[in-house]
């Protein structure tokens, strides 16, 4: 019914064309499967939520270069000034900014006795005050926030209370409740920090690290000539606050550089830029590749039709319907596509394994070659049907004309 036998013998009579098509399909499937896998993997990476109100929160840098500045009281005055500005919802000094690519990270010691003590996974370390949770816009799901009187000002070593992200709590204490646990900034027993709260989600600064979701907030207002300040303000007010904040702070003391106003959503764009670039270039490649393959296929079919004009005319004269002619070309194409697709799928898996062993790419999931073959079948159907319909219109008379 599908005329597979005559089609096969046609294919065998003139091998070079179909073989070339086969090679092209094998390579296309191998490339497209791997490329689309990498694309979807990158998109999944970029889709991860930082846990913060990314469109509302921005940060800026504050550098006090005048050694006569009393940093501690100056910082407190500055933060109060910022909180009073119109449009500002909250503000807090910080040691780092989510997704910004720079900041602090550390591991801690946990355990009940010195013998069972172990190191935790690394975590991003945010030093901030009781306003930090609200400034970042993260959700506290267990325990409580810092009390105002718990927040200390000075060096990182002073920390006594901590709020951790759910991911870090799970990695460090498993299913035990995190609230009330003690972790040590030094060796076991050294510089204890009591966990008082858990936030649902808070990412660190390095999106390519394995511990992106591990975060710790400690009850310290860092005092340093170089300070980062986080501000949460109504969407769209950044442009105006960019002017208002330096003006307000310079009124207090001019000897500071105030710059680098950046929304977290802008940090996100920058920090994922390379992934986005990779996904874009690969998508371009996939689209062009499919375009070229289908154009090439259409070209081949057109050529075949010209060569087989006589054959088609004869078949039509002998009673073949238009439908039969189209299905002849379609089935021919499907045979090549399926054979090429299967071999291409195997090559794709092989290529994926090579990429995995040489580069840090995850294993290719089989769904990608399968989807690619399906897509290719669909695409080639269109690429074949258009010229084949022309072929079906060949009049039987043509066949007899030049014999």
């Amino acid at each position: 019914m599908l005329q597979i036998k005559p089609i096969l013998s046609t294919l065998m009579r003139n091998k070079s064309g179909p073989i070339l098509l086969l090679i092209q399909i094998i390579l296309s499937v191998a490339i497209v499967a791997n490329a689309s896998f990498i694309i979807s993997e990158r998109i999944a990476l970029m889709d991860r939520d930082s846990g913060t109100a990314e469109e509302e929160v921005f940060n800026f840098r504050l550098y006090s270069f005048d050694s006569s500045i009393e940093l501690e009281s100056q910082l407190q005055r500055d933060i109060r000034t910022i909180r009073d500005l119109p449009g500002v919802m909250d503000a807090s000094a910080t040691s780092m900014v989510p997704l910004s690519g720079g900041g602090w990270s550390s591991g801690y010691t946990v355990g009940n006795t010195e013998e069972t003590a172990k190191d935790t996974e690394s975590a991003a370390v945010y030093y901030g005050d009781e306003h930090m949770l609200n400034t970042l816009g993260v959700d506290l799901i267990e325990g409580r926030n810092f009390y105002e009187e718990e927040v200390l000002t000075g060096s990182p070593d002073l920390a006594t209370h901590g709020i951790v992200s759910k991911a870090f709590a799970k990695a460090s204490w498993g299913d035990e409740p995190a609230i009330g646990q003690i972790m040590y900034a030094g060796d076991f027993g050294d510089k204890p920090i009591q966990i008082i709260g858990v936030v649902d989600k808070l990412q660190g600064a390095w999106v390519n690290s394995s511990y992106l979701d591990n975060s710790v907030i400690l009850n310290i207002n860092l005092v340093n000539v170089f300070t980062k300040v986080l501000v949460r303000a109504e969407v769209g007010t950044l442009a105006q606050l960019k002017e208002a904040i330096p003006a307000a702070l310079h009124k207090d003391n001019r000897n500071r550089v105030i710059e680098g106003f950046t929304l977290i959503s802008e940090h996100r764009k920058r920090v994922y830029r390379n992934h986005e670039l990779m996904a874009t270039v690969l998508s371009m490649m996939v689209v062009l590749l499919l375009l070229i393959t289908s154009l090439g296929l259409a070209g081949m079919v057109m050529f075949n039709i010209e060569r087989r004009t006589k054959q088609i005319g004869t078949r039509r004269a002998l009673g073949a319907k238009k439908r039969d002619i189209i299905s002849f070309f379609l089935v021919e194409n499907y045979i090549i596509c399926l054979v090429g697709g299967v071999i291409g799928g195997l090559v794709a898996v092989q290529l994926g394994q090579q990429l995995m062993s040489v580069y840090s790419l995850p294993k290719l999931e089989p769904i990608y070659p399968i989807m690619t073959i399906m897509g290719l079948l669909l695409l080639t159907t269109v690429a074949v049907i258009l010229p084949a319909r022309k072929a079906a219109k060949i009049s039987p008379a043509i066949a007899t004309r030049s014999v």
């Binding site: 064309g17 270069f65 060096s155 986005e276 062009l288 070229i292």
Partner: protein
Amino acid sequence: MFFYYLDLAWRSIKKTPLLSLLMVLAISIGIGITITTLNVYQLMSENPAGDRSDKLHGVQLWSQGKDAWKEFNGQVTYQDAYNLRKSDVPVRQTAMFVTGLALQTEDPDFSPLLESVRVTDSDFFEMFSVPFLYGKAWDKGVDTEAMYQVVINEDLNKQLFSGENSIGKTLYLDRKPYQIVGVTKAWSPSPLYYDVTTGAFKDSAKLFVPFSLAPIEEYQSWGNNQSWKREPINNYSQRLSSEMHWIQYWVEVQDDKQRDEYAEWLTRYVEQQQLIGRFESPEAAAKVSNVEQWLKINEVVPEDNKILVGLSVLFLLVCLVNMLGLLLAKFLKRAPEVGVRRAIGASRAQIFSQHMVEVGLIGFGGGLLGLLWAWGSLSMLSAHFDLEAALTQLDLTMWIVAPSIAIFAALIAGVYPAWRICSTNPSAHLKSQ
């Protein structure tokens, strides 16, 4: 003969415009993608040190404790840097790091700028071939007897002094006066090989100050600070005596002999430090790497780029196979015409070269169009992603590379169809005329 073939080729291309256009498009897209990825790859993997690559060496020390990092760190501790500077084996050497300082001028209305500043030794400029517009580096004596001197770059000189010779003038960094001793010409190697710790593709600093000022001025480090040891670092003197890695160290040697000599000196240094209780790991050692090795160790070319180049070469391969198929179709269609030419005396070699010229012409067209694609996609990428200009300008060599690859690839794809057509028997086609 060649021009006659060229003419024939042009006629043949005009006769089947659609098919020819398809071929040119196929090869140009393949070339466009390949050139795009190759261009970025080439610019990233370029060795900007040129012929000095074998003389300049980055120094690494395995100073960490037993169970700490399992590899050499890219930077060294301050105390090691301090000690290494005492070696008299290398011709030149420098310790360095990046800091940020508030810049003011004598003009009270000038609003302070926060600038990144490289803290380094006087040898830096000679080692990394920094060209000077005015003045020169600070004296070698300043490396031991600190003085408030600064070297600025051409851009900053334009911005602050409208490009005039500013030697001897005063700048304020964190409110301290510094005397300008040199103005460098625009200079920014890419990749910024001497400090890749915070990304290899950025501009070099606009200001340079003596390393000997670091313990006095307590410059903060704007680079990576990596500790393997839990130790309190709450003030600058603790930082200087800590095991934290945050200083880059480079030496220049005359030749391989001197490099070996220096490696030997470092080995003795490690042994000597072990005696006083540092370098506790059994793997403790020192390592020097020239610029080429340095770029490799630090994986300056990101993996993504290698994957892209690999995939785009496969892509080009698909385009070629595609073209091969189309060429085959096109040439075989012309078999009767070739039969006539053969019958009236054209040799196989002539038929073959005639068709190769045609293929070459298509390849050349594809190459040119491919360059256009590459240029377009690079500008689009750089605009959309705000990439460093250094990475997205079309390298000059590509103007030669692209058409060459295109013609070469097209010729390879054309060999089989051209051979098929010239080896067919003329009588078979003459009969059916």
